[in-house]
């Protein structure tokens, strides 16, 4: 049994401008100890997916529906708030992007770290403090016994993010949802934090869903990658296969858009023309159709489902929501579509 089994998750927000379908029918599984990269641009629904798993979508205006949200066989969608609270921070925990706004500035690090332990593990304050100091040490914070008495403003950005990670891992969760955990950090600090997450995962066997817009980060961290666009999953593949042969035009566009340390400088990047779709006013067919170089007439009419196939040469299990998937399979990743 998979650790997490999400079936047809839908999240919509009812706003003055109409109904915004932030997540529109997303299904996936996650195995124990696996790292899944969830990639997409702002507004693609990746963060909302994570928040929905934890029951953190405010309602109203949010409405969360799903056929099932199975975590170790329990349907999270059917749990009461009280039952959910027992899981949150204990079995499933979350690291947010911005450690400055997600730590309470009025409480010491100790208060914020020990809260989960006293609550979930029924530890005494003294036991909890000992464990919290150990947790801070594990994430590489120097002199944790002194730092624990400080307030968030006394720590640097990198340290605060490490406190967030320590907090997320204190109860040794089975699943860690990391939402852009290093986006606010400088690259040298990002390298430290990513290294740390890898070490901790190797030690504890926690499964991770890593939400990011940075394809470089997922390339190094994740076993599998899911690409989201306009609230839907458009591609799902093992990491190596995704980069070697992307099977959705959007994934190809994303990869072509990033300047890397090995691309040809000075040459134009293969940018994606146009803008991301308006979630309150989605096109009837494929959401990517208006920007797609591979589109055919069918694409504007049919919303393509996520189809699975086995890649002939590698035997990899692939998923793509593109009607032209067979053509994409046969063309090398960097080439443009052949116009007849």
């Amino acid at each position: 049994m998979a650790l997490l089994d999400v079936q047809n998750l839908r999240v919509r927000f009812e706003t003055h401008h109409g109904v915004v379908r932030a997540v529109d029918g997303v299904s996936f599984q996650l195995e124990e100890g696996e790292t899944l990269g969830l990639v997409g641009e702002s507004g693609s629904g990746k963060s909302v997916t994570n928040l929905a798993l934890l029951g953190l979508i405010p309602s109203p205006p949010g409405v969360v529906e799903a056929d099932a949200l199975l975590f170790e066989g329990t349907d999270l969608a059917k749990l009461s708030e009280a039952q959910m609270r027992k899981i949150r921070g204990n079995d499933i925990s979350m690291i947010f992007q911005d450690p400055m706004t997600s730590l309470n500035p009025l409480l010491t690090i100790e208060r914020q770290l020990t809260e989960v332990l006293c609550l979930h593990k029924k530890m005494s304050r003294r036991e909890a403090k000992k464990k919290a100091i150990q947790g801070l040490g594990d994430v590489g914070i120097p002199s944790p016994d002194k730092r624990i008495d400080q307030y968030p403003h006394e720590l640097s950005g990198g340290m605060r993010q490490r406190v967030m990670i320590a907090m997320g891992l204190l109860c040794e969760p089975r699943l860690l949802l990391a939402d852009e955990p290093t986006t606010a950090l400088d690259v040298t600090i990002q390298a430290q934090v990513l290294e740390l997450m890898k070490d901790l995962q190797a030690r504890t066997g926690t499964a991770i869903i890593l939400v990011t817009h940075d394809l470089g980060v997922v390339a190094g961290m994740s076993d599998r990658i899911q690409v989201m666009y306009g609230g839907r999953l458009v591609e799902m593949a093992p990491t190596l296969d995704l980069f070697a042969q992307p099977l959705h035009p959007y994934t190809r566009g994303l990869l072509g858009s990033i300047p890397t340390l090995h691309s040809h400088p000075g040459e134009d990047l293969d940018s994606i023309p146009g803008q991301p779709p308006d979630l309150a006013d989605m096109p009837p067919g494929c959401a990517f159709e208006p920007r797609c170089a591979w589109k055919t007439e069918r694409c504007a009419q049919e919303s393509p489902p996520l189809r699975s196939l086995t890649q002939p040469e590698t035997g990899a299990k692939r998923h793509s929501a593109c009607l032209e998937i067979e053509t994409l399979l046969q063309t090398p990743p960097s080439s443009a579509p052949v116009t007849p």
Partner: protein, 367 residues
């Protein structure tokens, strides 16, 4: 009345190369020993002493006409402060900034005006840098109005040509900033910077607030405009891959100083300063095969505070090279930018790297 009757014409692609005398001649912009210190008040029990924050602490570089120079570094290294001080938005504490040989740090407010025609800026945040109550037409015409160029009608035509040049629909000229997306707003900011036909544009993190697919569009646009209008860029960014894409010359900053400056190929193929090496190795690359096999230099600790920077080389507390072979000079003397091979324009500021190469060059120079 107006002193110029016709608005400046936007040259078409055919006359593009008029100002492209790349890599030769005197520098367009020269910065020598530039320092910008801020006073930080500390409220101690006994009144406390004011401390100085050394945001920019001795920056030297020359930017030649037609060149795109990238200034990279992590947050707090002083790259944005350097840009703003160069633009005259902050008064310099010390040092010299020269545009075509003319000293800018001593200019009065009114003397600045003609200089601004030659030197414009693009800001990071496309939401905060456009006035929400002005239409695009008035945003783009304002620089011309201030400099008394053209009549209202000409200015409008010019504004439409500018919109077209940055890839927006000229018919959207009467819209307000909120009617555009982030990427489109950044294009408007670029159009505004182009309005006076400057020689130099200082770009402060122009793409870091944008999504990757939009970022690529704006980078392509900046490259295209440079070619078309013969622009020079001083390009401030934290993303080395972005800088590598657009800039032919790159300077790396750490705690207020440039630690290495070189042409693009030299910097990426043969980085010399230990900080540059660590920075390059820390960048995650969108290539899982490379990413899983690369040797990564993970620096320990955080960037020290610019209020009380470490003595000697500011990088020494985190420097892997210093940790391996501690040298007393690293903790006592601030290393200067020095060229290893004269004429290569590859300079770096590291006692240990220079020491390692001296015997070789001495023996080469011996008769």
């Amino acid at each position: 009345m107006t002193d110029t009757t016709t608005p400046p014409n936007l040259p078409d692609a055919g006359t593009a190369s008029r100002t492209r005398t790349l890599e030769s001649g005197p520098p367009l912009l020269a910065v020598y020993g530039l320092k910008k210190h801020f006073k930080v008040q500390s409220k101690g029990l006994l009144g406390g002493q004011d401390k100085m924050l050394h945001a920019v602490d001795g920056v030297d570089f020359e930017l030649r006409r037609g060149e795109a120079l990238g200034l990279v570094g992590e947050s707090g290294c002083g790259k944005s402060t350097a840009a703003r001080t160069i633009m005259g938005l902050y008064p310099a504490t010390e040092g010299s900034v020269q545009l075509e040989g003319r000293e800018l740090t001593t200019l009065t407010r009114s003397e600045w005006r003609p200089v601004r025609r030659k030197m414009q800026m693009i800001f990071q945040d496309p939401y905060a840098s456009l006035d929400p109550r002005q239409t695009v037409a008035s945003i783009l015409a304002e620089p011309l109005k201030i400099h008394r160029i053209g009549r209202a009608k000409d200015r409008k035509i010019h504004a439409m040509a500018l919109l077209e040049a940055v890839g927006l629909n000229p018919r959207h000229i009467h819209r307000y900033p909120h009617e555009f997306s982030g990427g489109q707003r950044q294009r408007i900011g670029i159009a505004r910077a182009l309005a006076l036909e400057p020689d130099l544009i200082v770009c402060d993190e122009p793409v870091s607030a944008l999504d990757v697919s939009i970022q690529a569009q704006v980078l392509n646009l900046l490259g295209e405009l440079q070619e078309r209008f013969g622009l020079s860029y001083l390009f401030i960014a934290h993303d080395l891959a972005v800088v590598r894409h657009l800039c032919t010359r790159i300077a790396v900053m750490y705690l207020g100083r440039i630690v290495e400056i070189a042409n693009r190929e030299d910097l990426f193929r043969n980085p010399r300063h230990p900080y540059t090496k660590a920075l390059l190795s820390a960048i995650p690359e969108p290539d899982p095969v490379r990413e899983r096999n690369r040797e990564r230099i993970v620096l320990q600790g955080d960037v020290p505070s610019p209020i009380d920077p470490p003595a000697g080389c500011a990088f020494h507390p985190r420097c892997p090279k210093y940790a391996a072979q501690p040298d007393v000079r690293c903790t006592t003397e601030t290393p200067d930018l020095e060229e290893e091979h004269p004429g290569r324009r590859h300079e770096f500021a590291c006692h240990l790297e220079h020491a390692a190469t001296i015997p070789a060059s001495e023996s080469a120079g011996a008769p």
